[in-house]
Symmetry: none
Subunit: 231 residues, 4 copies
DNA sequence: AATGAATGAGCCTTCATTCAT
DNA sequence: GATGAATGAAGGCTCATTCAT
């Protein structure tokens, strides 16, 4: 049964804009490029989204919305709630959200869009933080807390959370560097689960270490290599 | 005592270009902006560097050169060579390279320059990889190998290296996100060493976990939350 | 008693278009602006008036039609036909037509529409000239002729007519300048009759002077300030 | 002796921009049109004047500056200071400033530029008012005062000044209307002095009338033609 | 070594208009 | 009678680059 009508112009534009904004960044991407790729008129962008920025906002929202909708993390009530299992699920879902490219570009498309927002957010990112990022973080925090049997304070939990997310993000978004120095660990559809496993175990060890390290024991290491050299 | 003479035009341009390319990216940064900030003529950039891209190359080389020169990692012959100490040194040096901003902008200047190259490298990055990144990676690899008493293969060492670098990079470059969700762990001059400590301990635990994990034990966890939803 | 129904779309558009064309001129006014202000669909203008220009034509006709209908000049049969009285009436009616803003914007609405047509007429103005301007001029000519007891030729009458109309027009349309250099004589609802009086007396004196000046007496004044300076 | 080099780009642009802004108004004029006519590159406008608006400002200043410089009004010390002579000079200079088109367009060029500013001033006009218009007005005020032997107050002088300027302005700028209803009085190089003479005599009569009219005598005329008709 | 003037390419946006419904 | 979607044309502006001096 054939598809009756192609996607309407508006959605077609969002679709290709995701890739193009992702690959080139907001500034370098041109709406000409986008309109052409979407087989739409140049002015259609302004008609539907008012602005290049309006389009960008729509793309960003669409990206997160679809990403979290298709790869949600939710405690599975039918299975064991063991926190390590939850952590594993969480990490794996994150990898899949970043890398899976069914229809929308993965690492070389909308993924980079997200990366960019992470380290130089545009105004369009603000609502995304509230709607998607913060709740997501809370889940991770509660998992780590569980893993620590409730004994760890935020001073330990939050850095762990950052370490975990950092690995996921780096694995997926620093692909160009990884390719150059350790190309066998480039995230691909095939090894994505292996990588997620690695991050899971590595982080599990990390969390345990952080929780067992004696609080008062100051690092005794002398770091005289850090004596800054003066020019 | 002679009057310290101002930097010559060429260096002045490199200097401000570092910040501006960093803050805005290659495309969005404009030669006018740079020339104005450097109090140089608009045509001076093309005169000295032939190209906008030529300037960018110069800036990138300058950034890495100065970064590694001022915060080198070198085994300290006067102290214990214990590999955990070395790892600590390595991580700390990395943090300082990224964040220290004496003269060149730290997180909000040349730092972002590096981040960008990590996940969308320009042609100018290629020589940097060979000159700086690869040797740097080798050091880390050898430290991790030592930590594993030589028993770990590259299949374990490399992912660990990536996990470690990922944390460092994320901590420093995802600052905008961290500020929004865990602002007390924003890297600053004051807590930079604490953060480095955290990453050190977390990674130490991670490496140990990876090394002790039974190779054949497949993750038994059922991840049915990953059943992708179809639209 | 039935609810007064709102003006139909077509008239609503003409209404607001008068103001908008007046304030901004034909080119600068946009159909979007007009349609929005009239709470009509963007395409409605083209639907009802075919063209932006078609709408403009309709607006212009409407403006003059309403203006002359509401403030006609007609010899009043019940009163003295003294030509000075007629001149006074004529001038006063003109002021009122230009300035009165019951419903259609006065000086800052359709008034400026007329001003613009005076010094850069559009094709739409041509029929207006025949229908409204020329008959209006004839009335003034006949009044001036009467004031001269029929002794003045067109060579004297027409310039006087222009002088009179010029004053009225200038008073009303050069308001922005008047406000800056003599703001107490800005035409307002309150002093409009005083201004009309002034123009009346000034013009009366002017006409008399023109009629008494010896025809052959050439101005004897030496105007050496007019020796043009060369750059 | 041949002219060595053609006008530099910047001046060429100002030159043609005067005509084009005049003919079409700020909005409708395009910098493409201007650049083409000036045989300059499109970007030259932005280079030299930053903005379309910057160019407009330059044109306006240039217009007034040249106008007043070439046709100054200055009491001629060598001749009689009779105020009526002064008035004549003043009026004639004004006509020439508006109409003379040696090199810069007269009635159909920069003249309309001025007219437009009179009844819908742009921000660029503000400094012009202070620098040129106000001093110019003061001269006229003092002439009228002299004509009244110092007995007239501002309440009489200012309206007279407006009446005089109004005639001059209207004569020159309402040319399109004049052509349609009294084409023999279209201002041209040939009859410009005759028209100035007319305005002079008409205004002289007007001023005298205003000064002799009994202050308390209210106009007795019944203006029942002004009973507004209701729609 | 350095600069002011000028240029050509390209980008975002706006606008009047049309078309299918 | 009226509308939402879409379009082609054109406009202002920015930018990297070049060239004569």
């Amino acid at each position: 049964m054939p598809r009756k009508k192609p996607l309407p112009t508006k959605e077609r534009i969002i679709d290709v804009a995701g890739d193009i904004f992702g690959k080139n960044g907001f500034k370098a991407a041109t709406i000409r490029q986008i309109a052409t790729a979407a087989q739409a008129n140049l002015a259609a962008v302004n008609y539907h989204f008012r602005d290049k920025e309006g389009l960008y906002r729509a793309v960003l929202e669409d990206t997160f919305s679809k990403g979290f909708h298709r790869f949600p993390y939710r405690k599975n009530p039918e299975e064991s709630n063991a926190p390590d299992q939850q952590l594993h699920s969480f990490i794996r879902a994150m990898f899949h959200r970043f890398l899976n490219n069914e229809g929308w570009g993965g690492i070389s498309g909308r993924g980079k869009l997200i990366a960019r927002e992470f380290f130089e957010p545009t105004p369009a990112f603000e609502p995304i933080v509230d709607t998607y990022i913060k709740p997501h973080k809370e889940i991770l925090v509660s998992i780590i807390s569980d893993l620590s049997r409730g004994k760890a304070g935020m001073d330990k939990i939050l850095p762990c959370a950052i370490s975990i997310i950092g690995q996921c993000v780096y694995y997926t978004f620093a692909a160009p560097v990884i390719q150059r120095i350790a190309k066998e660990f480039l995230p691909t559809q095939e090894n994505i689960d292996l990588l997620a496993d690695h991050v899971f175990w590595f982080s599990l060890g990390g969390i345990q270490q952080i929780n067992t390290r004696p609080v008062d024991k100051k690092t005794p290491i002398v770091l005289n290599t850090l004596q800054e050299k003066h020019p």
